[in-house]
């Protein structure tokens, strides 16, 4: 059965990070106390942030305990350290919080507690880690592809100048540097062909004295191929 970890408060990227950290779990994110109470059904674990509002995390807990006394969903509570003395007894003894962690949030500690409380520690084996890493690589690609296409744009600009009669040396060197970066990076994201194309572009720009018409045409072809290649989904297992 898929573990469902309800994350109430925090930022949405923490929920995304937890989903990437563990294979086969879902982490719905509640931005407010009301959303948390509405989404509590079927949660394997409730992770509450003391900073939650509308209503507060404490109010959410009291309401859950009053309205649903038989619900045994474990609760992990992230408390502001300065309130520890004042609230620890209430949270643990009165409101049944299973574990406390403290702000500033340590994501690894959060993951450890989530794994233990939701019983998913055993799923964090080698294959799960590889799955998770593949998802992380795909997410990093999605986050970075705009800047990578900007690097391709610099090469396109240099190639366009070249086909219009000549490229200024500064732009040529910049395009060569961008091609070098792309040759080293896009294969890591799963675009082995993209790395090969970028390397050929780098080599052509490097030899500035031989940037004749035939090389200009070859560059035009290569830059189109590069954009096409990077427009495809990356290979699942980067090469």
């Amino acid at each position: 059965m898929t573990a469902r970890i309800l994350l109430a408060g925090f930022s949405a990227d923490i929920a995304e990070w937890l989903e990437q950290r563990f294979a086969g779990i879902s982490v719905p994110h509640a931005r407010t106390g009301t959303e948390a109470m509405d989404a509590l059904n079927e949660a394997s674990l409730l992770v509450l942030d003391h900073r939650l509002k509308d209503p507060s995390a404490l109010k959410v807990l009291r309401t859950i305990r009053r309205r649903h006394p038989s619900v045994a969903t474990p609760v992990l509570f992230c408390l502001e350290k300065k309130y520890r003395k004042r609230l620890e007894g209430t949270l643990v003894d009165e409101l049944g919080v299973n574990r406390l962690i403290f702000h500033p949030l340590d994501k690894d500690e959060l993951a450890q507690e989530v794994a233990a409380l939701a019983g998913i520690a055993g799923e964090d084996g080698t294959e799960a880690r590889r799955e998770r890493t593949a998802r992380v690589i795909a997410a990093v690609w999605e986050r970075n592809k705009l800047t990578i296409f900007e690097e391709v744009g610099v090469i396109e600009k240099a190639v366009a100048s070249l086909s219009e009669g000549g490229v200024e040396d500064g732009l040529r060197r910049k395009a060569q540097a961008e091609a070098h970066k792309l040759a080293g990076s896009v294969g890591t994201f799963g675009f082995a062909g993209g790395s090969r194309i970028a390397r050929e572009i780098e080599q052509i720009f490097k030899d500035s004295l031989r940037l004749d018409e035939s090389r200009s045409l070859r560059l035009t072809e290569l830059v189109v191929q590069l954009r096409d290649e990077l427009g495809q989904p990356p290979a699942r297992r980067p090469s």
Partner: protein
């Protein structure tokens, strides 16, 4: 075993993907630097178990950075693995003369990066 690695590369994409995969797959502690100068400063402040160092960087390239690291009593013992897009054997031989401990080609496979570093350093 928990290891600490310092990644020095001017390409932020490479730094991010190497850091994430080494942390997630190997459980290593990873610090990063965007230039040779920053890498040297970090290595002095908190010497890591090994440094993964890009060859071609603006301002201070990988070989120069290795030279500075090997010239300092604080950092000369730290093993260095070079990360390079250069594939020619003569380039590789030149790098080996710097006293480095291994060479990993770019683009690397993030799934096996930790294994490649471990193999180069005899950490297996």
């Amino acid at each position: 075993m928990n290891r600490s690695i310092l990644i020095v590369d001017d390409d932020e994409h490479i730094r991010e993907i190497a850091q994430l995969t080494l942390e997630a797959l190997a459980g290593w502690t990873v610090a990063t630097a965007g230039s040779g100068r920053e890498g040297i400063a970090r290595a002095h402040a908190l010497p890591p178990d090994a440094i993964l160092l890009d060859v071609q960087m603006p301002e201070m390239d990988g070989p120069t950075t290795v030279g500075r690291l090997k010239a300092s009593d604080t950092t000369r013992h730290i093993p260095v693995v070079l990360l390079t897009a250069k594939v020619l054997e003569e380039d590789k031989r030149g790098f080996e003369e710097l006293g480095i401990d291994g060479i990993i080609s770019k683009p690397f496979d993030p799934m096996t990066l930790a294994d490649q570093i471990s193999n180069a350093l005899g950490w297996a």
